[in-house]
């Protein structure tokens, strides 16, 4: 077949049009975020790392955690006062703050936001519900918000950044059957944050486009070249996520990268890994209601069989710090004198024999559920499985999903023998970890899925919760932690060093344990 010059020219032009530009081109000023999107955009309905990251960009709070170690920073509020009895809290608001529709943010909007949160009664309201009723929040002046608590509540101030302030003028016209606009806000936005959602660019869990809000109350003078538009394009598979980062079509990954991918990014010239000690604990849960885990010696046999240093040094390559208690070692209330359980198969065998002598069924196959999409949980399970085999324990690994695990752990009889998960930071108070994990009043939630029950621990945790002075609360948490560790209800492995892949063109990345560095107003893109 002969091809004429003209035909060849036409073919070449078509090929060029098809290829057009580098396949890896990204529009200037556009930040492509690869983290997962929350299942629902309403900050009153969903509470997880993804929802926190989104809310940090689209919404504002009275106070906000910034930096690492995190510090409370006045945000919409300029300051606050608290009465001597710890019952009345007043927050002074900035004046002239505007929502994305241009209307002014006032104390009435803050009252509405808290009342809406309490009425919807989803996860973000959980920690506040015991002490806050709808009529506990009031607006004595246009820029003053008052909270009147029924009793003193230690973690109250720490929980303030969990609540995003929403615009009732955007929500109320979209309410259906008294749902507080829950259905509408699930796919829309009504905030005042540094970025605003472009509704046409939103497809649940697939994509979300946000543009810079020029009138944000903080102004932009601190960041002369801020990101103009955020294109949230979650990558479902880790390898694709990392390849996209390396070829420049994605600017940031999640913070759960497996070690091989961390090494791959470290070697790249286009991106780097931001490593930050955080407050995310990895825990293997044991269902204390099911034999043999109802036996203390049996639980200790398991606790001594996990190769903590092998896992931290070899498998996660040092991107974690051993934490032997259910409180991050970077927060007050952490008992420094507790060394926890060490890897010692001889001791494990000793406890194994004692438990057998007490009639515990140590030979029965034990199932440990791991989270298949999160490779580290599988690796931890495999390591544990091989060491337990030398002790004489038959561990079987079961692939599962977090959604299903949180679901089946609502009842003791359906909670697995063992499972593994992280506990992330939502409010920086020991109550976020030990308080919700070991107070028996939380039985039925995934955080308390070991079904541990100790009346002395309950008493200490509740006392700490209803005491306001941190000086008094710290020793209570330390004491509770010592008791919990002695009872060995779970296996506490580490406090994570978050590893987040970041493109080299991204400057100004600031990590904070709350939101895992997902607040984008500080960032800018180099040429």
């Amino acid at each position: 077949m002969q091809i004429s010059r003209r035909e060849f020219g036409a073919l070449a032009a078509a090929a060029l049009a098809f290829r057009g530009q580098s396949a890896a081109a990204v529009e200037a000023g556009v930040f492509v975020a690869g983290q997962d999107l929350p299942a629902n955009l309403d900050p009153a309905q969903v509470l997880d790392v993804q929802a926190t990251q989104y809310a940090l960009n689209a919404y504002d709070n009275l106070y906000r955690y910034e930096g690492n170690p995190a510090k409370m920073q006045p945000w919409l509020a300029t300051d606050h006062t608290v009465s001597a009895d710890g019952l009345t809290w007043e927050f002074k608001l900035r004046e002239g703050v505007k929502f994305h529709d241009g209307s002014e943010l006032t104390a009435d909007d803050v009252v509405y936001s808290f009342q809406r949160l309490l009425a919807i009664r989803r996860a973000p309201a959980g920690p506040l519900q015991p002490i806050l009723k709808p009529d506990s929040v009031s607006a004595p002046a246009r820029h003053t918000v008052r909270f009147t608590l029924a009793q003193p509540f230690g973690p109250f101030f720490a929980m303030i950044p969990m609540v995003a302030i929403v615009n009732p003028r955007a929500i109320k016209p979209n309410e259906e059957n008294g749902d507080w606009g829950a259905k509408w806000l699930a796919s829309n936005e009504a905030g005042s944050g540094a970025y605003r959602l472009l509704p046409a660019g939103y497809v649940p869990l697939e994509r979300a486009d946000l543009e810079k809000y020029d009138d944000h109350f903080m102004g932009w003078s601190d960041n002369p070249h801020p990101i103009k538009r955020i294109e949230w394009r979650p990558a479902k598979v880790t390898s694709t996520r990392v390849l996209a980062l390396l070829n420049g079509t994605l600017d940031m990954t999640d913070s759960f990268l497996p070690v091989d991918q961390v090494e791959r990014i470290d070697k790249s010239s286009n991106a780097h890994v931001a490593k930050n000690v955080t407050m995310r604990l990895l825990v293997i849960r044991m269902n204390n209601t099911k034999p043999p885990f109802d036996n203390l010696n049996a639980r200790k046999a398991f606790a001594h069989s996990f190769n903590y240093s092998g896992f931290i040094d070899e498998i996660v390559k040092g991107n974690a710090v051993r934490d032997p208690v259910p409180i991050p070692n970077t927060i007050w209330g952490f008992p420094k004198d507790v060394s926890g359980y060490e890897f010692d198969l001889k001791k494990a065998k000793g406890y194994f024999d004692k438990a057998m002598g007490e009639g515990a069924p140590m030979k029965r196959p034990i199932q440990m559920h791991v989270q298949q999409p999160l490779e580290q949980t599988v690796q931890a399970g495999q390591l544990f499985q091989s060491d337990l085999a030398t002790v004489g324990i038959d561990l079987k690994l079961v692939n599962d999903t977090f959604a299903n695990l949180t679901s089946i752990s609502s009842k003791a009889e359906t909670t697995p023998d063992m499972w593994i998960h992280w506990v992330s930071a939502y409010y920086l108070d020991p109550d976020n970890w030990i308080g919700q994990m070991y107070d028996s009043k939380y039985h039925g939630t995934w955080k308390a899925s070991c079904w541990y029950s100790n009346s002395k621990v309950d008493e200490l945790l509740r006392k700490a919760r209803f005491t306001t002075d941190q000086e008094d609360r710290g020793p209570l948490y330390e004491q509770a932690a010592r008791l919990v560790v002695a009872d060995s209800p779970d296996i506490w492995i580490y406090n994570m060093v978050e590893v987040c892949g970041v493109s080299n063109r991204v400057q100004g990345f600031r990590h904070c344990p709350v939101g895992s560095g997902g607040e984008m107003r500080w960032m800018y893109l180099s040429a």
Binding site: F18, S22, G126, T240, N404, S407, K411, T445
Partner: protein, 336 residues
């Protein structure tokens, strides 16, 4: 023909009903409590109980099933537990992307697989045949996940020819939706830039998804050609000097592809299932990706609706396959 289609459509209803009931029971009979997953982090037991009641998860399973069947008969697939959006709307938004990917893959597999099969059949036990057999075995045996990553490494990372993931590049303003297919909609709107961008994004997912299908179609075509080549009419035509390739491409091929057409029908269902993996790797915003998310978040109404949808698509494709058989060989109408 119309009677045949009606008969097949009516006979499919009990199958689809059975599929609905079995899937519902399988999803809801496991000891999971979707309310706990829905409540999220930091939820209290009281909040979980309230959600269980709100969504009717505390009602007897039979009652929940009857309510759900009633909704489906009114074409109401309920709301996603998480996004609160109607599942039907989400599916409508994502289905065109999956169909574009699946039809693209099937078209590519057919257009390439049939000629390869013919050539292999004609050159039986000679080198083109050996190459094809090797390719067929590799194509069927290779894991889509691995193949996709290899394509990404070569064409996106090394050569920088094709996009790594997604359906469009950043900053692309999409044309207004007419068919849902980005290729067709961009042509309708005269947006050749979007068409070229969409086509480039389609190449790697189609190559991955079609590999197994292509190998399978080639194998069935080859077997059909080998059988037909032994028929008397071929011997006669060759004896009278009928041009060889004309004989093969018109008469031999027509009599050889019936098995391959059946295979194409079956492959369509397999491709829809395979799209789950391919869409995840390439972040293709279709039904497969939607299903994976639904499984990971235990969004059971989405899982039910997607299973039913795949069942309906399978049924339609089976009917179309039988019709195609009849068109290729009118004698088969009598048996249908």
């Amino acid at each position: 023909m119309l009677g045949f289609v009606l008969r097949r459509a009516l006979s499919a209803i009990p199958s689809l009903f059975g599929l609905l009931v079995v899937t519902f029971l399988l999803i809801r009979i496991v000891p999971a409590d979707p309310a706990a997953a829905l409540a999220g982090d930091n939820a209290t037991p009281q909040q979980i109980a309230a959600i269980r009641h709100q969504y009717g998860f505390d009602r007897p399973i039979g009652e929940q099933l009857i309510i759900y069947i009633g909704q489906v008969f009114r074409f109401n697939f309920g709301e996603s537990q998480y996004s609160h959006r109607p599942v039907g709307l989400d599916i409508r938004q994502r289905l065109p992307a999956t169909l574009e990917l699946t039809f693209g893959s099937l078209l590519f597999a057919t257009l390439v697989g049939i000629p390869i099969g013919v050539v292999a059949g004609v050159y039986h036990n000679r080198w083109p045949d050996f190459v094809l057999r090797l390719f067929s075995i590799t194509g069927v045996a290779i894991a889509a996940f691995w193949f996709a990553i290899m394509l990404q490494l070569l064409f996106s990372m090394q050569l920088d020819w094709l996009p790594l993931r997604g359906r469009t590049g950043t900053g692309i303003v999409l044309p207004s939706e007419v068919t849902g297919s980005l290729l067709l909609d961009s042509l309708i709107a005269g947006r050749l830039d979007v068409f070229a961008d969409a086509l480039r994004h389609l190449v790697l997912p189609v190559a991955t998804l079609s590999l197994g299908a292509l190998a399978s179609i080639a194998r069935f075509t080859r077997a059909g050609v080998l059988e037909t080549m032994q028929k008397d009419f071929v011997l006669y035509e060759r004896a009278v000097g009928y041009p060889r390739w004309r004989l093969i491409w018109i008469y031999v091929l027509r009599n050889s592809v019936i098995a391959a057409v059946s295979q194409i029908g079956l492959l369509f269902g397999a491709l829809i299932a395979g799209a789950v993996v391919v869409e995840s790797i390439f972040d293709w915003p279709g039904i497969g990706n939607y299903t994976v998310q639904a499984i990971l978040t235990a969004d059971y109404k989405v899982m039910l609706a997607v299973t039913l949808l795949i069942g309906v698509i399978y049924t339609i494709v089976n009917i179309l396959t039988d019709l195609t058989h009849g068109l290729l060989d009118p004698r088969l109408w009598e048996q249908l």
